[in-house]
Symmetry: C3
């Protein structure tokens, strides 16, 4: 029986990136749809639920993607509501690569520090990847300083996360004022830059002055780097005594996690591969 | 040579239901198109006609679907006009599952009564499935009472059917007035409910009072049932002395017919799998 | 590793013709997109570039098609700009079959005359196929009379071609006036009709009076023929002492070239199969 992956993409043209990874992960047939929103997803899911015997449903799965992460979350919510009882399909959500990137980031950090000892400052922490990295780190007992332009935005992001994870270990921070920025970074042993593409978030002199810093991860793939002095290709590269990763350096692990997640979709018909589940896959890969 | 199925769907997103069945029936490649109307179907058919040698054309076929049955019929008409001489492709039309559902309904009835002895009342008889069930039953020598809200609508439906089959055995009936309803049901040995989803068409007391009734088929898959007291899962289930079928009980046969029809498309390049042809497939499956 | 072809089509529904040929040429997976323009092509190309290792990129390729040849050219330009260094994919452009048809036309002529001795009049020479046939013939040392309704249009087409090939051997001609028409044809040994579908460009008496004429190719597949008296099915058919080809007669070679070109896409990741490269493939097939 052929493994069918139903790709629901919130962009008008379904991502070729996600399609190639799906093919290489072993999906036999891709049903790729663009322009998907919660209101048009239901019949597509019904068609997957009602065509094969319950014992065969593990061979039909759903992938939710697209550049708009909030749109992907809304589709996932709708898809999960469409299932009933055992008549369901495994689903993975990775809009804009947010879950696989956040998982790969934390996996990279875990190679150098026990996660329970991590005290991380996340710059651009309220974006999709920053939020997810914070969620994963919090679930592993780490401390997190969630940085944003305003304290209100940072606090709202923490409030959002509190529905998913114990956020007592997350401190919202504003990083616009020099004093706020310094306070956010002071004493952190991990630095993550998860801001918009092509925006520098911290100067070389600033992070080199953080005496406690052990690991720095820059997720920006468009020059200039978010963390000045970190190269896109850095992969556990030692710089000024700090272990550095760039976007491409993290990308290999991200791709392995994405591929393994697609493969897990076809092991049973009840997987929900969200942020936490995708990180668990990342941990098993190492 | 790979078996290619060109899926022309009148809905904007081509049905995943039809795609999964096509894959499981052995189509190697699906070219799935949404938003199809007669005016944009022609170049898609030409591309199928002019790419392989005549002797190989049986490996390229066309499936017409979508939720709008009239739209599917218009596409089928256009597709058949596009062919010329032996340069043609096999085609199946099953918009909204109307042909396979009607065929499966009559196949179910035929397990319990010789079709020539059937005297069926069809409630909601002017919808796509009701019309097609009437057409198939008429072709097999049964008597049919075609029920609708008004006599005019029922008569218009009979007029439409008269282009496809001898309708001398079909009586149009209005089923809105209590007297009309009773007259339509009086003496029938088969009851088919083919109305809109989630609308009850006959109460339990009413059909249980039909002393001649032998078989009842409810095609409604959304509660409440069209025939009160019949369960969606009923499959030749005895209830008050009547053999009952629900939508899912008929669904297994419907799926087998759909699958077999897709497979037949690839046996030659000149099949036209419309209502009659799809019922013939249903009969051969039994 | 599966061979993936990303089909970028400028029409809203991607061509089934190009899809069937791609399947039969051995592409394992087709990612077919309609409604493509330069502005939405980039992320689709990025997804192809960044998902497989450089050494595996030869298994991902791009086909550009659609009925609008200028739109296809603009997409090709954008796609080539999107690549950088060795991170690239092989690409073929054949909007409206223009490159494969022009190549097949010249291959057909070369069976009967050395190309360096060809002196061809191209009627409808400013359309996509006429232009490309002129380009190919010029590259092989032939003389060309490029016919158009006005001399200005013909001259503008030559100017366009001068960016691609040495056009000193191409003479722009107006073919509207009887005198212009006669001058354009006088002494030519090859006649190509590459005008709009269903429009006769030259009467039988006119070409039969061309005493120098050896080969006539009519590329019009919709009656009436562009060259009166040539049949669509003609394939090296002798008529009044002239070797004649019709659209379908050239079509077999066109199809072989198209198929071989798709196969070459997957031999390395750096092919650009444009007019010249597609003709080279045609020559190797013969």
């Amino acid at each position: 029986m052929k493994r069918i992956l139903i790709q629901l993409d919130s962009d008008s043209l379904p991502s070729t990136f996600d399609r190639v990874v799906a093919v290489d992960a072993g999906a036999d047939e891709l049903f790729s749809y663009g322009g998907i929103a919660p209101q048009n997803a239901e019949p597509l899911i019904h068609g997957g639920m009602f065509t094969r015997k319950p014992s065969d449903l593990k061979n039909t799965a759903v992938f939710i993607g697209g550049s708009n992460v909030a749109a992907g979350e809304a589709i996932l919510t709708k898809v999960l509501k469409t299932f009933f009882g055992p008549v369901r399909l495994s689903v993975m959500m990775d809009s804009n690569g947010s879950n696989t990137t956040a998982a790969a980031t934390v996996v990279a950090i875990s190679r150098h520090l026990p996660l329970a000892e991590v005290d991380a400052v996340i710059l651009g922490g309220t974006g999709p990847v920053g939020l997810r990295a914070a969620q994963i780190l919090a679930s592993q007992g780490a401390k997190i300083r969630l940085g944003s332009r305003t304290l209100d935005k940072a606090a709202a992001a923490c409030e959002h996360l509190s529905k998913l994870v114990d956020t007592s270990c997350i401190t919202p921070c504003e990083t616009t004022s020099p004093a706020g920025f310094d306070a956010a970074c002071q004493g952190a042993n991990v630095l993550i830059a998860a801001g918009a593409a092509g925006v520098q978030l911290i100067a070389a002199a600033q992070w080199q002055a953080m005496s406690s810093l052990k690991v720095a991860v820059d997720l920006n793939a468009v020059p200039p780097a978010g963390i000045e002095g970190v190269d896109m290709l850095d992969k556990a590269k030692e710089r000024s005594g700090v272990t550095c990763y760039g976007a491409i350096g993290v990308g290999g692990t991200k791709m392995k996690i994405h591929t393994a997640a697609i493969q897990q979709l076809f092991e049973s018909n009840d997987k929900v591969l969200d942020t936490a589940a995708i990180f668990a896959i990342g941990q098993s890969i190492g």
